[in-house]
């Protein structure tokens, strides 16, 4: 039962809103879908919003990290938004710092940040 995560296009950017808990297969499918979408649209920015997510384990963190690196290779900047306090604390305690990841509080601020980064 693999659900595919919807990816929306807004001008030059792709917007992904992750609405439910990610199982391993869905996460990997998402990675593939996003990269394909980047290819077909030549979008320069991606915002991935994780507001409804209440936990992220090391596997999902790795997939996210990979997505960011892969998107970078394809010429797109990624901003992760909406990481909840509980999730942030858990990730830090697990030892996952996600140092090179650009973050923002929510979708709106994420888009603003992307626009600033892309203009630079």
């Amino acid at each position: 039962m693999m659900t595919r995560i919807p990816i929306l296009k807004l001008r030059d950017c792709l917007i992904v809103s992750i609405q439910w808990e990610l199982d391993d297969q869905t996460a990997l499918a998402f990675q593939e879908d996003l990269l394909n979408r980047l290819h077909t649209t030549a979008a320069r920015g991606v915002v991935i919003d994780l507001t409804p997510i209440d936990f992220i384990d090391s596997f999902i963190a790795k997939v996210l990290g990979d997505v960011i690196n892969m998107s970078g290779l394809m010429g797109a900047k990624v901003v992760i938004t909406g990481i909840q306090p509980a999730v942030a604390i858990t990730l830090i305690e697990l030892g996952i710092r996600l140092e090179n990841v650009v973050t923002a509080l929510d979708l709106e601020k994420g888009l603003e940040k992307l626009e600033r980064e892309l203009e630079a």
């Binding site: 990481i83 909840q84 306090p85 942030a88 604390i89 990730l91 830090i92 973050t103 509080l105 601020k109």
Partner: protein, 275 residues
């Protein structure tokens, strides 16, 4: 033999008391007499004598009840525990000396007398120490709660800019609470820059630095930038000496500077208005 001792104490309590007071003075514990009124001293010493009699003659349960009451009462006086134990053992010594003088003791029975008195003193000591520890533990846990109530809150000083003043020592448990408060505040205030003010943190060692760095990492994940302000000269020295790496942080010495930088980061500045 127990009854003998009990009766002796009962009949000679006044003499015992006098000798005991002299012994206390000899030991140069005259603050004892300064702190407590003669009446209280007398009364307590007599109670102690009664307690001895009770242990020698009454049912174990009854004695235990009286011992408990006595211990709780003593703790309330607020004397140091070592002092209390000294006075108790002095009291016992006096009784032993007196029994010797009154020629109750001879070669065959002095060992048993000694044993009875020791067997008596030891549980009393335990009971007193126990009563003291209970009070100490209660105090510590109350202080712990009071400390936690000192919890820091995030203050939204400007739109997009919030400040959290940290005060006091930060142990692991407090650090967790602080981190939760901090993050929830960031989300609630929609802050883009957070200023952690450590002016009120007396010691920054590797453990505290670790907690601060963790908190800052978490803030970054949630989507805001974290700045460290209020770094006093001593703290700066300690941090460098200990080899703590805060290079990923933006730091300033005062909150004022920090706010100015935060404003700049969010494309704002404070300007004077011409009247």
């Amino acid at each position: 033999m127990n009854r003998l001792i009990a009766r002796y104490i009962h009949e000679n309590i006044d003499e015992i008391l006098e000798k005991w007071k002299i012994k206390m003075e000899e030991e140069k514990d005259d603050r004892f007499f300064q702190v407590m009124s003669d009446q209280v001293i007398d009364h307590t010493a007599r109670e102690f004598g009664e307690l001895m009699i009770s242990s020698l003659t009454e049912e174990k349960e009854t004695y235990r009840g009286k011992l408990n009451e006595f211990s709780v009462q003593i703790v309330r006086f607020g004397w140091s525990v070592s002092f209390v134990l000294k006075t108790l053992s002095n009291f016992t010594e006096v009784i032993y000396e007196n029994l010797e003088k009154a020629e109750y003791l001879n070669e065959s029975n002095y060992k048993s007398y000694r044993e009875i008195l020791n067997n008596w003193l030891t549980p009393v000591t335990h009971s007193i120490v126990d009563a003291y520890s209970k009070v100490w533990e209660k105090t510590v846990s109350l202080q712990k709660i009071a400390l936690q109530e000192l919890s820091a809150s995030l203050i939204p000083v400007f739109e997009k800019i919030s400040v959290m003043p940290l005060v006091g020592t930060i142990d692991t448990e407090r650090a967790k609470l602080i981190m939760e408060n901090l993050l929830q505040g960031v989300v609630k205030h929609r802050a883009e820059v957070v200023l952690l003010d450590i002016t009120g943190v007396p010691v920054v060692d590797t453990m505290v630095a670790h907690h601060i760095i963790q908190a800052a990492d978490a803030v970054r994940l949630v989507g805001a930038k974290c700045m460290l302000v209020g770094i006093r000269p001593e703290i700066a020295q300690t941090i460098v000496t200990l080899g703590i790496n805060l290079n990923d942080f933006t730091t300033t010495s005062t909150l004022q500077r920090g706010v100015e930088q935060a404003l700049a980061l969010t494309n704002r500045a404070i300007v004077e208005v011409n009247s």
